[in-house]
Structures are given as structure tokens and as C-alpha cells.
């Protein structure tokens, strides 16, 4: 059996000579495979690769744009902040100056007012004093005369002389008192 197979085989088949049926089958099968894969699969893969590259590059570009925008915003905020700071400083200075002005104003007014009050008081005092002095002078004269007439027991006829004596006495009294 085995000998038959071996001998028969060598005469029927030569492995280096292709079978034409297999060439046909191989060509057709491989052609079908090539057609399907090269038409429907690999071009789409190429497209997907391209889309992926685009997506990545687009992403980078978008990120760069966003970065630039963020930087610009940051600059803007910084500028605004600096501006706000100077504004605040200016407002503070103004307020301080205003406060100083107002203080001076109030102080002046108060001083004026106090001066006025003091002056009025003084004036009033002087007037009252003058009144009192005048009243006292009249009364002191009468009392002194009454006293003197009682003591001396005589009425002084000469009114003018009597008045002069009293006045002189009083002014002497005043000048010594003031001293």
C-alpha cells in the first residue's frame, strides 16, 4: 500500500509545477480579497488617520488660541487692577484732603463761635458791672451821707460840695482797689 502510494505519487505530482486549477482559484480569491480590502477598508483607515492628525493639530491650535486669549485677559485684568489701585489711592488722598479741609473749617468756625461767645460774655459783664457800679455809686453816696449826717448830726447844706467830696472819696477808693 505504502509503496504504491510513494511510487504513484512521484509520477503524478511534482510540487514545483503549479496546478492550473489552483492558480485560477488563488487568483480569483486573492483578487476578491484585494478588491474588498483596498476599496472599503484601507482607504477609510487612511482617512481616519488623517482625521486623527487633524483633530490633534486642531486641538493644539485651539489650545494655543485659548492660551493667547487667557494671556490677553490676564494682561487686561492686571491693567484694570493697576488702574483701580491708582484710582483708590487718588480717592484716598482726596478724602484725606477733604477731611483736613473740613476739620480746618469746623475748627475755624468753632474758634470764631467761641470768640464770639466770649466777647459777648465780656461785653455783658462789663455792662452789668457798669450798671452795678453806677447803682452802687448812687446808693453808697446816699448811705454814706445818711451815715455821716447821723454821725455828725448835722445836715450838710451845700449839696455840690457834699457831692464832690463823696465822688473824690469813691474814685480814691476805686483807684486803690484797682491797684
Amino acid at each position: 500500500m505504502y509503496f504504491l502510494a510513494a511510487e504513484g505519487g512521484e509520477s503524478t505530482h511534482n510540487p514545483i509545477i503549479p496546478l492550473w486549477q489552483e492558480i485560477v482559484v488563488g487568483s480569483v480569491a486573492f483578487a476578491v480579497l484585494c478588491f474588498v480590502l483596498m476599496k472599503f477598508v484601507f482607504p477609510r483607515m487612511e482617512q481616519t488617520f488623517q482625521a486623527r492628525v487633524d483633530a490633534i493639530e486642531g486641538g493644539i491650535k485651539r489650545a494655543e488660541a485659548a492660551q493667547a486669549e487667557a494671556n490677553q485677559l490676564l494682561e487686561q485684568y492686571r491693567a484694570q487692577l493697576a488702574e483701580a489701585r491708582t484710582d483708590a489711592a487718588k480717592i484716598r488722598d482726596d478724602a484725606r484732603a477733604d477731611a483736613e479741609g473740613i476739620r480746618q473749617d469746623i475748627l475755624g468756625k468753632a474758634r470764631e463761635e467761641s470768640d464770639r461767645i466770649i466777647a459777648a460774655g465780656k461785653e455783658q459783664l462789663a455792662a452789668e458791672r457798669a450798671t452795678i457800679v453806677r447803682e452802687l455809686r448812687a446808693e453808697v453816696g446816699t448811705i454814706a451821707v445818711d451815715l455821716a449826717s447821723k454821725i455828725v448830726g448835722e445836715s450838710l447844706a451845700d449839696e455840690a460840695r457834699r457831692k464832690g467830696t463823696v465822688d473824690r472819696f469813691l474814685s480814691n477808693l476805686e483807684s486803690t482797689g484797682a491797684r
Binding site: P15, I16, P18, Q21, F42, P43, A51
Partner: protein
């Protein structure tokens, strides 16, 4: 003239294996020995084509920017051939050849791989018809591409006349012609065919050898076991050869296309 399967079923090993073991009986009509239209070999070719078409169409039906696992796998295969073979060998012009190279690579790899898949266990590429078809396509392709790129006369001038002193040219031109236009398709086809043929033959020798020794003498059983262990080891070697030959076939095709497109020698 029984098939190898019958022999094994009868408990008797046909040893040593012969070329006939590569020509299994036809499936349709069942058991015929002179009909080659529908055999295990051609069926495997169709299965390979079917698997590849279904795999790629299924994984790439709805491609997304952020790939799913399967899509990533399909893209990796294409990306490998595109970047590591087509672009590396040919440059940016190689991108347009990448679809064909990938198809070629996948087809050769899968049909080779059948050599060690249980139940398939033989590669269609151990029949020279299939490597021959692929080699003829590569041959036609690189010549067509070269003629289209350079024009007919300039292409042959570029290919046949190396930059050498004039007195050596009478020797060099026949050699160039022989190596470029005659040997290339044969070497391409025979390299793949012979590797797969020899691989299958090796596995047969060690597998059937084990049976042969066992049936010859029961005391040889340990040697039979060693023989089968060798089969397993050789299967790993075969896997290496499978991948390597698929890669080599694609790289050589790319290299021929690159040579045809090159401006200078």
C-alpha cells in the same frame, strides 16, 4: 493510493511521508484524486479570504477617532505594514502601496498560519500555485510602476545599466537582466513555497515517525514520545518561519517597487 488519514485510521503509518501527502483527495467530488477545484487547500484559501474580509469589514464598519480595541488591532496591522514596510522602504510615495502590501501581508500570514492550526494543519502556500500567483502580481507591479514612473526606455536603462566602467558592462547587463527580470519572481515564489513545504514535511516526519517507531517496536515508545516533543518544538519554529516569510515576502515586494521607483542606481 489511500490518503494519509486512511492510513492513520488503519493504525499504520505511511513512513516516510511523500509529496503525495500534500495532495489530499478532493472534497467535491468526494475522494477524487484528479480534481483540484474544491480541495482542502482551495477551501482554506477561501476561508482565509473570508476571515480577512469579515475581520476588516467588521472592525472598520464604523471607524472612530478614538479607536475601540478591535479597531485598534486592525489599525495596528495596517499601520505596521504602512509605516514599517511601505514608508520605511519606499518613503512617502510608499503610502499608496500600503493597502496592497497590507492585503498581501495578511493573506500570506494567515494562509501560512494554517500550517499549525489544528484541523487545518497544512498551508496552502505549500502548493506553489499560490505563492506563484502572488509573485507574478509583485513582478507585474514593480515593472508597471517603474515603467510608469520613468518611461519604458529610461526604466530599463536604470534597471539594466549599473554605474560601472564601460568594459565591465557586457558582463553586468546580462547579470542584471537575469537577476531582476528572470530570477526575482521565481525566488519570491519558491522561497515562500519551499519554506512552507519543508515546514509541513518536517512536522510530518516527526509526527509520523513517532507512529512508525511505535508500530515497529513497542520498546521504541520513549523515542516516539521524544519525536512528538520535537514536533511541538518544531511547531514553535514553524510559527517563527510563518511570520518571517510573510514579512519577507512583503518586504521584498516593497524593495522591488522601491528599486523600480529609484531615480539612480
Amino acid at each position: 493510493m489511500f490518503g494519509q488519514a486512511n492510513v492513520l485510521a488503519a493504525g499504520q503509518a505511511a513512513f516516510p511521508p511523500s509529496v503525495e501527502d500534500f495532495y489530499l483527495p478532493s472534497i467535491l467530488p468526494w475522494g477524487a484524486h484528479d480534481s483540484y477545484w474544491f480541495t482542502k487547500i482551495t477551501a482554506m484559501v477561501w476561508v482565509a479570504v473570508g476571515i480577512l474580509i469579515i475581520f476588516f469589514l467588521a472592525t472598520y464598519r464604523k471607524p472612530q477617532l478614538v479607536p475601540t480595541k478591535k479597531q485598534w488591532l486592525a489599525e495596528s496591522i495596517y499601520g505596521f505594514v504602512r509605516n514599517n514596510i511601505a514608508v520605511d522602504m519606499i518613503g512617502h510615495r510608499g503610502v499608496r502601496f500600503a493597502p496592497y502590501f497590507t492585503t498581501l501581508f495578511c493573506f500570506v500570514l494567515l494562509t501560512n498560519f494554517f500550517a499549525i492550526v489544528p484541523l487545518f494543519q497544512i498551508s496552502p502556500n505549500s502548493h506553489i500555485a499560490f505563492p506563484a500567483v502572488l509573485a507574478v502580481i509583485s513582478y507585474v507591479m514593480f515593472n508597471y510602476v517603474g515603467i510608469r514612473h520613468h518611461g519604458f526606455v529610461k526604466y530599463f536603462k536604470n534597471s539594466l545599466i549599473p554605474p560601472a566602467p564601460w568594459y565591465i558592462l557586457p558582463l553586468l547587463i546580462p547579470i542584471e537582466f537575469f537577476s531582476t527580470f528572470l530570477v526575482r519572481p521565481f525566488s519570491l515564489a519558491v522561497r515562500l513555497f519551499a519554506n512552507m513545504f519543508a515546514g509541513h514535511m518536517l512536522l510530518l516526519v516527526f509526527t509520523l515517525g513517532g507512529f512508525a517507531m511505535l508500530s515497529a517496536n513497542a520498546w521504541l515508545a520513549p523515542v516516539s514520545v521524544l519525536s512528538w516533543v520535537m514536533t511541538i518544538a518544531l511547531t514553535f519554529l514553524e510559527f517563527l518561519v510563518i511570520c518571517l516569510q510573510a514579512y519577507v515576502f512583503t518586504v521584498l515586494t516593497a524593495s522591488y517597487v522601491q528599486g523600480a521607483l529609484a531615480d539612480e542606481h
